[in-house]
């Protein structure tokens, strides 16, 4: 059985945030909720790295462990989903999740948060596949249509990979083998091999 995984190749992610936009559009998520977000570490410095992150569909999901009403379930594909009809909007999954995946449409006094929303790996929820109610509550169910998550499908640099964990790791392993240990497959030497440093700006020179 396939075990669905996301993997973001940090050597490829260019922080375009298209995955975020595509997801918001595909699932028509409420305003101010972003099921996916891109974080850039060491932003603006040499060697900065960007990573696109959403629900990581943990095997031992902390959100599911702390839910007072036990509204989470894992599909046969290893996708962690939740039932919004059971969710009480207490905020515990938000406390527990290391990736900031659970979010709420509201945040008001007396801890009124509304039903939690998070990445579904484009697999909808417990309602009938691609029914109007499922779309309204969880967004499109692309998995039921035989498609993979849209964020990864439309990633322009194919940094974000989604799918069966063994296939995803095979692709990533091949990339790493091809790159070798050095990360010089981009920047000056990669673009202009053997041309030396004449035309290179001071700022771009390796320190």
């Amino acid at each position: 059985m396939a075990r669905m995984k996301f993997l973001c190749d940090v050597e490829r992610c260019i922080e375009c945030n298209a995955c975020v936009t595509a997801c918001n559009n595909e699932h028509d998520v409420p305003w101010d909720i972003n099921r996916r977000h891109v974080v850039t570490i060491n932003d603006g410095k040499r060697g900065e790295k960007s990573i696109s992150v959403a629900c990581m569909h943990c095997t031992d999901a902390p959100c599911a462990a702390v839910c007072p009403v036990d509204c989470f379930y894992t599909t046969v594909d290893g996708i962690v989903l939740h039932d919004k009809d059971l969710c009480i909007g207490c905020g515990y999954c938000f406390y527990a999740c290391p990736f900031g995946a659970p979010q709420y449409p509201e945040q008001q006094a007396f801890n009124v948060r509304g039903k939690m929303d998070k990445c579904t790996f484009c697999a909808g929820g417990p309602l009938p596949d691609n029914s109007p109610e499922e779309y309204r509550k969880y967004g499109r169910n692309r998995i039921a249509e035989g498609k993979l998550p849209l964020c990864a499908e439309m990633c322009s640099t194919k940094a974000l990979l989604a799918g069966d964990g063994t296939l995803v790791s095979d692709i990533y392993r091949k990339r790493v083998m091809k790159r070798g240990g050095s990360m010089d497959f981009w920047r000056w030497e990669a673009a202009y091999p053997g041309q030396g440093n004449e035309n290179r700006s001071e700022n771009d020179k390796e320190k």
């Binding site: 945030n17 891109v38 969710c87």
Partner: protein, 321 residues
């Protein structure tokens, strides 16, 4: 004659110290030999929860990996949910055993029929207002922590979730009302609850509840009641303040603040409930004639003489004057 090496405590300490020095030194040398590993350090710092830049500015989204959540999960699901049922059951069982072995603290003299005013109507309304919200908060709070293990197998998932939706809302609205009641109680009752020397004697004699012998002296509020008052005020303020932090996520408090607040809230709240068992016991079935004081507002003169003798004498003098 060959002397055997004896491992005294002093020698053992020296041995440990030497071992520690060798280990530290070797660790330092190894770190120097390995040299820096920029990519390892980079992801190491991410694992430790450094923040970065993100265009999506929802709460805490600039941090890739929050470590606090796992700690909070372990504390809530492991420590709090694992230990507190034993504490609650232990206190309840202890009280029940006390009731079965020692029995009810009965009136030693027959009822005199003379009533002495103890709590005014306003005091009683305030007490029952606070008590009502305390019970509501305890039941809804316990449902939140134990309902998944205890109530879902009985009632099913959907009915429990429907109940819990309301229970959560009621809990969140009752909390500030309870805190307000508690602070009012503090204001009107603190003057009677200042700890004094006679309270120590009262405790030394276990309030005269166990065994024969003269009852310890007490003013309007005895040592045990004072102890409950201060437990109630301190626990109530801790639970109340942490509860308000959780109840109003609109003030920009961080997730870490809420995780810590929740752990304190649940721990102190459960201990508060366990302590309340004692108060509820002594106020109802534990001591004959006590409940009347808070329900009808007056007590029998025999009760007052037995439990609050100095207050009784004061009241009699007042009456005579």
């Amino acid at each position: 004659m060959k002397k055997h090496f004896v491992l005294t405590r002093r020698r053992a300490c020296w041995l440990c110290l030497c071992l520690l020095c060798v280990l530290t030194l070797s660790a330092v040398i190894m770190a120097q030999e390995r040299g820096p590993n920029p990519r390892g350090d980079f992801w190491g710092s991410v694992r430790e929860g450094v923040s970065g830049y993100t265009a999506v500015s929802s709460a805490g989204h600039d941090v890739l990996i929050h470590n606090g959540g796992q700690n909070w999960r372990e504390i809530r699901n492991g420590l709090i949910a694992g230990i507190s049922p034993w504490i609650l059951a232990g206190v309840f069982t202890a009280i029940m055993l006390f009731f079965l072995i020692v029995g009810k603290d009965k009136l030693e003299e027959p009822r005199s029929g003379i009533r002495i005013a103890r709590f005014s109507l306003a005091e009683r309304i305030l007490h029952w207002f606070t008590a009502l919200f305390f019970i509501i908060l305890a039941l809804t709070g316990a449902s939140n922590l134990f309902g998944r293990a205890v109530l879902i197998p009985v009632f099913g998932q959907a009915p429990f979730a429907a109940y819990m939706q309301w229970a959560l809302w009621i809990h969140n609205v009752s909390g500030p009302l309870f805190l307000a009641g508690l602070l009012l109680e503090f204001i009107i009752w603190v003057k009677d609850n200042i700890p004094k020397k006679i309270d120590i004697i009262w405790f030394r004699n276990l309030g005269g509840m166990v065994g024969k012998g003269p009852r310890p002296h007490a003013e309007k509020v005895n040592g045990g009641e004072k102890a409950w008052f201060w437990v109630m005020i301190l626990a109530g303020i801790v639970v109340g303040v942490t509860g308000v932090i959780l109840d109003f996520p609109i003030w920009g408090q961080s997730r870490a603040t809420m995780q810590i607040s929740h752990a304190i809230h649940a721990t102190v709240g459960l201990l508060f409930v366990a302590a309340s068992f004692g108060h509820i016991y002594i106020g109802t079935i534990g001591a004959e004639g006590t409940f009347e004081g808070m329900w009808r507002g007056s007590v029998d003169a025999s009760w007052a003489k037995q439990h609050q003798d100095l207050w009784y004498e004061h009241k009699i003098k007042e009456e005579q004057a």
